[in-house]
């Protein structure tokens, strides 16, 4: 999009893509509703599989929570690129005189928002169903959620762009994503567990770890992600 003969700045282009993604989603809510239903099913299935006592659910709760989020993300991030294939709209986006990184950044931010929206519903439900007291440490939990979800959205968006170009892409994305996100699972689970211990403690080393993960993969996306969108 050329305005007054100049092409858009990176941030404006990214936000334009973000706005497009949000508008498309908020017209149907398809993705958010299916992901939410999925994540609640996972949470229910856990209780059938383990039938935890209150002590056990506090002990295993953070792990269950993050496994549910990871599984949900591996499904939710799937359409991010593959739904552009239907009408080859990605080709149209590529034609825009913007940095290809802006397309990735816009989608990354949109996926980050979707993930946070899902977590916003999941957390209270989880807290009630498993009697895990998240409310007193809500602010700290949000910090962990923000950092963990940013890491998931970053790696997930790139891997969604990768998987969308291959055959069997629906199966491939979880396969690529889940092992690579093992560090996020460990760090977020440990940080959340720290907040549920008595007294609650925000373990700074895990926060720093999550931050480092996010910075490393955001930088890698910025450096190498654009290659994925080449024709």
């Amino acid at each position: 999009m050329s305005i007054n003969g100049r092409s858009m700045t990176l941030s404006r282009a990214s936000f334009a893509i973000l706005a497009k993604e949000l508008r498309a989603e908020f017209r149907s809510f398809e993705l958010l509703i299916s992901t939410l239903v999925f994540v609640l099913i996972v949470v229910f299935l856990f209780s059938f599989a383990f039938d935890p006592t209150i002590g056990e659910s506090r002990r295993f709760g953070p792990g269950l929570l993050w496994i549910a989020i990871l599984f949900a993300a591996s499904l939710m991030l799937q359409p991010s690129f593959s739904r552009e294939r239907t009408n080859d709209t990605l080709g149209a986006l590529r034609l825009a005189p913007i940095d290809p990184f802006a397309i990735l950044a816009g989608k990354l931010l949109a996926n980050f928002c979707f993930l946070l929206l899902v977590e916003l519903v999941l957390l209270p439900a989880f807290s009630v169903l498993y009697d895990v007291p998240l409310a007193p440490v809500a602010a700290q939990v949000m910090v962990v959620m923000l950092l963990g979800s940013l890491g998931i959205a970053t790696v997930g968006t790139i891997f969604s762009a990768i998987a969308s170009q291959a055959r069997m892409r629906e199966l491939l994305l979880p396969l690529l994503m889940l092992p690579a996100l093992a560090p996020i699972l460990i760090a977020s689970t440990e940080a959340t567990a720290g907040l549920l211990s008595d007294p609650p403690e925000l373990q700074l080393n895990w926060i720093v770890f999550l931050l480092a993960f996010d910075v490393i993969f955001l930088t890698a996306t910025w450096l190498f992600g654009g290659y994925l969108l080449e024709e």
Binding site: F159, R167, L176, A180, P183, N205, I216
Partner: protein, 235 residues
Amino acid sequence: MSTPEVRGIPGLGASVLASALLMGAAGYAALYLAPTERSMGDIQRIFYFHMPSAIIAFIAFFITFIANILYLVNRSPKSDWLGVSSAEVGVAFTTVVLVTGPIWGKPVWGVWWVWDARLTTTFILWVLYICYLLLRGLLDDPERKAIVSAVYGVFAFLDVPLVYMANRWFRTQHPAPVLLGGQNSGLAPQMKWVLLFCFIALTGVMLILLRVRYRLEELRHEVAEMKIIADSGDR
């Protein structure tokens, strides 16, 4: 049309022979020349193949990482061939590590597997590069395949130190490294020589596998080009 000459790899026969002799000697050295470890007994001899394989696997994945970055910069098919060849060799050596490890671990630790930092990292490394090879199999266009798998390769490699760090903080009961650890760790001098010898022998195997695998990729490329020429000749 004359049949194109099939070129082999110069000196391959001789290097395979040399490598076979070296491997035989390494096996002999590990089984007979190395002193028996005091507390673990004979089972510790598996170490002479276990640890060099681990180092070689890591070197192979590092070569893949460099080749992936090179490909993104210079777009030479050769970088792509090197990347996939080295990843395959790395997966083979990691498989050796993951098989020999539990065989050694069961009698010594009493369990086949523990979720310690190095074991977990090796396991995830193995899975990540199997995914790399799987991804390549699912991409049809050669150029797409090269670009997309190169980006995945870079992300996978960057993930490895993070997996290691996370596990190291997570599981604090990991044993100290044998070679680079504190004062009480370390090997008897004769053990060191056998280890070095086995490392050299296995490096020879790795280089031969890499060379043959690279040649295979080169030949596949040539076949693809010939097919294109043959197809255009038909019309």
